[in-house]
């Protein structure tokens, strides 16, 4: 573990000195985890790849500002989450997070969950509307508080809670039959 940490530190230092190989190594080491995050936040592979690409460019441009306090992985995760949120905003999908608040979810089709592995879960999350998905990801998986979410997304705490509530409701509909 400490060895791994040591590896990271030397990689980061090399990377901020412009070592192309170190950069490649960081990419190889973390791209999988980061891609999973992007997939959860974006709703298509294409968009997730865009987010991944932009996120890594940010990481490499900002790596010299990483302070070595806190985990490097956590630092990177935040970058990718923020990049994804930014992209959603930029892409806009013609929906503001607040617009979705009152949108009724019409599709009643249930997902064939099968074994319910991680891939299926990502698909399930991807099918949520953008607003619900963002809040669900941030709160349930990435451990942000409603206060933090409201600051990052610039929505009120109660909106964040409502979004989460609605996301849960939708998931429950989709997962009907999976609850006792």
């Amino acid at each position: 573990m400490s060895n791994e940490k040591h590896d990271d530190i030397s990689l980061i230092k090399a990377c901020s000195n412009g070592d192309h190989n170190a950069f490649n190594e960081i990419y190889n080491k973390y791209s999988g985890i980061m891609y999973s995050i992007c997939l959860r936040y974006m709703n298509s592979h294409n968009d997730a790849q865009d987010a991944l690409q932009e996120g890594f460019i940010k990481v490499f441009n900002k790596i010299s500002s990483y302070s070595f306090s806190g985990s490097f992985e956590g630092w990177m995760k935040r970058i990718f989450i923020n990049t994804s949120i930014e992209l959603i905003r930029k892409k806009k999908y013609h929906h503001d997070i607040n617009d979705i608040r009152d949108t009724e979810f019409k599709t009643t089709s249930k997902i064939n969950i099968g074994g319910l592995d991680a891939k299926k879960m990502i698909e399930l999350i991807q099918k949520l509307p953008h607003g619900y998905r963002t809040v669900f990801n941030m709160y349930v998986i990435d451990g942000y508080s409603h206060k933090e979410i409201s600051d990052i997304l610039n929505i009120s705490e109660s909106t964040s809670k409502t979004q989460l509530f609605k996301a849960r409701k939708q998931l429950q509909i989709k997962l009907k039959g999976w609850f006792e």
Binding site: E54, I57, R89, A118, I141, Q172
Partner: protein, 409 residues
């Protein structure tokens, strides 16, 4: 099939599975990053970020894209698949250095896959086979969009100040707000140098500066583009709120207004429309009780409804007594009901035994003195019943039945 007890159990599983889940991305992502990380030739994905961060870089990029395309075009023109491939590789691995960021652009393209310049901070590669190409290119918009005074949670005039160097080339410049709000959209279009249009109306002519004010509570796109490039800025997160201010005229008449004069709304009192398209609304003679005054902004679709609750307190009061002593000693000689600010009043006093009305009055000052109709024989001590119909100002009519005792020594 294992079933979940509730959604939180499902969420635990999701968190467990996905928190550190890893999906290998397709290799093209790395290729794009690798390519763009040379920091001097930026691919599509990274372009927008760079454009926003660095306007001068934006010109460079846009120009490079233009020139690279030209190179590719020339190569294709040779009608040789080999040269196509070469041209493609050339662009993929090219290192473009801009010597001049104005209209004269010198482009150096080099191709060398094997050698890497490790001293460079920007993953750049050395140039062996240099190809110098000088083009005179019209410029991409010299993007400078600044958003000032951007404060969340209040209506702010997002000042989008834009300086465009229009130059000599014919440009189409669009600054647009894709979600129109109050103050309406910016769609600026210039079809000829120096002419500015807003919603097809010219607002500024022959100038390279303009100021425009827009208010929005939604993320807003402002883009400046021409055929050589595009600059984009997202102004996000303004979340204006407005307030309903009420001014008391008297106890049940109020004037309501929205604290931003530019906002007009439809006004609803307890769900029914009372005023249309107004910044202010006067409501008179509000009945006692709680009322909701709601506004639905109509010239600012992005603003949400707002409402305020007003509690109109009664000014009237009534007080009942349950005993009186008509003995002529000056205290409690008459049965009294204390009532203030009333609209109507009637008292009926019944004999409990005979159930007959023995006194009636519409005036609270006209009180019962203990004799039948205040003139007949004295009633015996005991319990009597008063039925009082009254309406206090601004309130609903009420009926109160009071049992009281007549005491004689």
């Amino acid at each position: 099939m294992k079933k979940f007890k509730d959604i939180s159990e499902f969420e635990k599983l999701v968190k467990n599975q996905l928190e550190n889940h890893s999906t290998p991305p397709p290799s093209k992502v790395w290729n794009n990053i690798d390519f763009s990380s040379t920091n001097q030739s930026v691919t599509k994905g990274a372009k927008i970020i760079e454009l926003i961060k660095n306007p001068i870089q934006a010109i460079k990029i846009a120009s490079i894209v233009g020139v690279s395309a030209t190179v590719l075009f020339l190569a294709v023109d040779n009608q040789n698949s080999r040269s196509k491939e070469v041209a493609h590789n050339l662009i993929e691995d090219s290192q473009a250095i801009l010597e001049d960021s104005t209209s004269n652009i010198q482009l150096k393209i080099s191709s060398n896959k094997d050698q890497k310049n490790k001293e460079s901070k920007h993953w750049s590669r050395p140039s062996n086979n240099e190809m110098v190409n000088t083009h005179k290119q019209p410029l991409a918009p010299k993007e400078i969009i600044k958003v000032e005074n951007h404060t969340p949670n209040s209506i702010e005039n997002a000042k989008v100040s834009n300086q465009l160097n229009i130059g000599e080339a014919l440009q189409k410049i669009i600054v647009s707000n894709k979600q129109p709000c109050i103050g309406e959209t910016i769609i600026l279009e210039s079809t000829s140098p120096g002419d500015w249009y807003i919603n097809n109306e010219i607002i500024i002519k022959n100038t390279d500066n303009f100021d425009y004010t827009v208010i929005s509570d939604k993320p807003m796109f402002v883009s400046v583009k021409n055929e050589f490039g595009e600059a984009q800025e997202v102004i996000s997160g303004m979340n204006p709120k407005y307030q309903i201010i009420n001014q008391k005229i008297n106890h049940n008449t109020y004037t309501f207004s929205i604290n931003k004069q530019e906002i007009n709304a439809n006004w609803y009192l307890d769900g029914s429309l009372v005023s249309e398209n107004n910044n202010v609304c006067k409501i008179e003679e509000l009945p006692v009780g709680k009322h909701e005054i709601k506004t639905i902004p109509i010239n600012a679709k992005c603003l949400s409804d707002n409402s305020t609750i007003l509690d109109i307190k009664s000014t009237g009061s009534i007080k009942f007594f349950n005993v009186f002593t008509p003995n002529g000693d000056g205290s409690n000689d008459e049965y009294t009901v204390e009532i203030n600010n009333y609209e109507s009043y009637q008292i009926l006093i019944f004999d409990q035994i005979s159930n007959l009305v023995i006194f009636t009055s519409n005036d609270p000052e006209n009180r019962w003195n203990g004799s039948i109709n205040n003139t007949g024989e004295n009633c015996p001590p005991g319990e009597y019943l008063a039925k009082i119909n009254y309406t206090l100002k601004g309130e609903k009519p009420q009926i109160k039945n009071i049992k009281f005792t007549l005491i004689r020594p």
